[in-house]
Amino acid sequence: MDYAKLWFVLWAVLWTGYFALDGFDLGVGFSGWLAADGEEERGNVFSSLGPFWDGNEVWLITAGGATFAAFPPVYAGLFSWLYPALLLILFSLIARGVSLEFRGKVQSSSWKSFWERTAAVSSFSAALLLGVAFGNLFRGLEIGAGGYTGTFLGLLNPYALLTGLLFCAFFFFHGQLWLSFKTSGPVALKAARLAGGAWYALLLLFAAFAVYSYSATGLSGNFLERRSLLALPALLAAALVSAKVLLARGSGRGAFFASFAAIALFSLTGFAGLYPALLPSRLDPAFGLTVYNSSSSVYTLRLMTAATLVLLPVAVGCQVWVYRLFRTPLTAGELKRSGMY
């Protein structure tokens, strides 16, 4: 068994889990206020994330930790070469986390609106910058023989910005769908309408991203070489269409699951295109960090595989249980009892 290849898959799965789960937290964070009218409705919007967001964010921590353990040079390169971008993502995630936690702690309109604005700005910048970072991965970084030679401004190239916008559109759609079945009354209705509109923007950005990726990156190579991989983007298209159909039929929950699948398939399509590189070089493929030149020793990878096979199912099981426990929206009484909203 080639453990380095297996860990490429697990690495992709962990990032995918993060995008599909925290994606709706970020989307609600920066666009939820559009579906809400007045402080009470905004309270419903934010409390819909209450029991979940922290657990969702752990997928990011796990993806980061797994990168460190399984591909140390990738972890070192990604985080130090993209220093300013990572720093901004970090500040955004810190601000997002505290604003969700602090918002309901003081019963004052100006306090709440301050943290709502902070949540909106920080969620948006986290979504955008994560997209920009992965856009640059897809495009390839300026990695030379002696390491990275690019600049921060170079990261803000048109392709990466387009990927960033695509992430934002995805999370906007995902977040509004979440609200459409996790809240009730006018908020849910408005969220469903917003999601319906956002779908067209998402599709447009998606088409642009596909064309741009085909012409300006090496992502398509693997798909042309191994046609069976085309199943991923095909399923992605199907998931996007079903999200719209289900939404039109009034099933917010169904549409949310379809968009969950779409984000997951989008992410997996991207990773399938990257393989075998984790950090490809656009100067010369030989300088890129790949499963062949950047993985940990077989001993470590075997240990990590065993640990992951035991621990990750337990973690996922707990999360599934929590999603089922809080299947129905929190009642006003429960929110009051939580003492947090």
Binding site: V58, A69, P72, F79, S297, L303, T331
Partner: protein
């Protein structure tokens, strides 16, 4: 300052700030779970109020512990890329396992505890806090096994230009990691015990909800006394361990310059600011240092002069940090024992001065912990991994000082603001008292 100095400063600032929130989390979870279990078993609503009151303070504190923890994970790659490349094969595993084995649990079940009051039975709800408390302490275990490896690297070989793991069991059973774990979690429990005593004392002084706050004062006092005895016991073992495995650190902790057998313990020491040796050495207790370091009155204690100047840790901060920590540790035993005594005799109301002192004692365990980390981490210098990799070799090569200036400034501003808000919220909810 160069990238190295700035990165070290940034790591110190962010780690010390992170560790303002972690210790209380480590202890207060257990106490909250304990109160709620008493409620779940007896149905006594007073215990429910205790659990909800302390649980709320737990949450406010927990929020900043979580968000500042992300920084710690990102930063090793951002500022210490060379370190991460060199040791990631062995050092990364415990961090990844921590996320999967502990952090998932605490982040998932904290939501269950906050929002699940009407969706779970009493016992299941109390269980969710037990899981959170257990998982936060497990987090500490994996992180400290990683740090323990930096202090005392085991289970690796140098191969392919890096340190590769060959024996996970050695990492898992590294005594250095376990001593650090117990010393750290017990000291976190001391923080929680003093926090609970201090806040309760504030209310008792004002005669608010006296019955309830007497209960929590008592629980805090017993918890603090037991933990401060445990922390001292493990502290003694840790010093022995340092003397054996990190002699330069131990020599700096005591500012010992000359190697000798049957070394005396010097009560009054003033290290020289420049150059080698101590300016003042007075009041020697014969054999005591050898006894302390090796539990043998005739053992040889290594002095700093046995190490090349570039292999010595900075002496003054390590020495002062260690003495302060030990003195405070002794004070915690005294104060908590007095607390237990006065609580058992129901005399707390008669000694308002003691109650006031306990309020002002809240920061002391925090200070002791920060000094403890200063001893551990500064005492390890000049090594990032003791004897294996120097800190200077670990810093990211692609990083310009200006970048770290900016990030350090950003962290300082953001953390100061968040710290101020969180402190204010804690004080606000602590003053509010329990629900009627």
């Amino acid at each position: 300052m160069d990238t190295l100095a700035l990165s070290r400063l940034q790591f110190a600032v962010t780690a010390m700030f992170h560790f303002l929130f972690v210790p209380l989390t480590l202890g207060l979870g257990w106490l909250t779970a304990w109160f709620e279990t008493r409620y779940a078993r007896s149905g006594d609503e007073n215990y429910l109020r205790l659990a909800r009151f302390w649980g709320k303070l737990f949450l406010i504190n927990f929020a900043l512990g979580v968000v500042t923890g992300i920084t710690m994970e990102f930063q090793l790659g951002m500022d210490w890329a060379e370190y991460s490349r060199y040791v990631g094969d062995i050092f990364g595993a415990p961090l990844a396992i921590e996320a999967m084995a502990a952090f998932f649990l605490e982040s998932t079940f904290i939501g269950v505890w906050v929002f699940g009051w009407e969706r779970l039975s009493r016992k299941a709800h109390a269980a969710s806090m037990w899981i959170v408390a257990f998982a936060t302490n497990m987090s500490a275990l994996w992180i400290l096994l990683a740090n323990g490896w930096m202090q005392h690297p085991v289970g690796y070989v140098l191969r392919n230009g890096r340190a590769e793991m060959v024996d996970f069991k050695a990492l898992l059973l590294n005594p250095y990691g376990w001593l650090e774990f117990f010393h750290t979690v017990f000291s976190g429990w001391v923080v929680a015990g003093f926090f609970v005593m201090g806040v309760s004392a504030w209310h008792l002084l004002r005669k608010n909800q006296e019955e309830l706050f007497k209960k929590s004062f008592g629980a805090g006092a017993v918890f603090a006394l037991a933990s401060s005895l445990l922390v001292a016991g493990v502290g003694d073992m840790s010093a022995v361990n340092a003397a054996k495995n990190q002699p330069a650190k131990f020599a700096a902790m005591e500012s010992v310059w000359e190697t000798r057998t049957a070394a005396p313990y010097t009560l009054l020491v003033v290290p020289r600011l420049n150059g080698e040796g101590n300016a003042v050495e007075a009041l020697k207790v014969p054999y005591a240092l050898s006894l302390m370091a090796f539990h043998d009155p005739h053992a040889e204690v290594k002095g700093l002069k046995d190490f090349l100047p570039q292999d010595r840790p900075p002496v003054l901060p390590v020495f002062l940090g260690f003495r302060t920590m030990v003195a405070l540790g002794a004070l915690f035993i005294l104060l908590s024992a007095l607390g237990v005594f006065l609580w058992r005799k129901d005399l707390l109301g008669k000694y308002p001065l003691f109650l006031k002192a306990m309020l002002f004692a809240i920061p002391l365990p925090y200070i002791a912990i920060q000094f403890g980390w200063l001893v551990t981490e500064m005492g390890r210098q000049p090594w990032a991994v003791y004897g294996l990799m120097r800190t200077a070799e670990g810093v990211s090569k692609t990083l310009a000082p200006a970048q770290v200036w900016l990030s350090l400034g950003g962290f300082t501003l953001l953390y100061s603001a968040l710290g101020a808000v969180d402190f204010w919220l804690l004080a606000k909810y602590a003053r509010k008292g329990m629900e009627a």
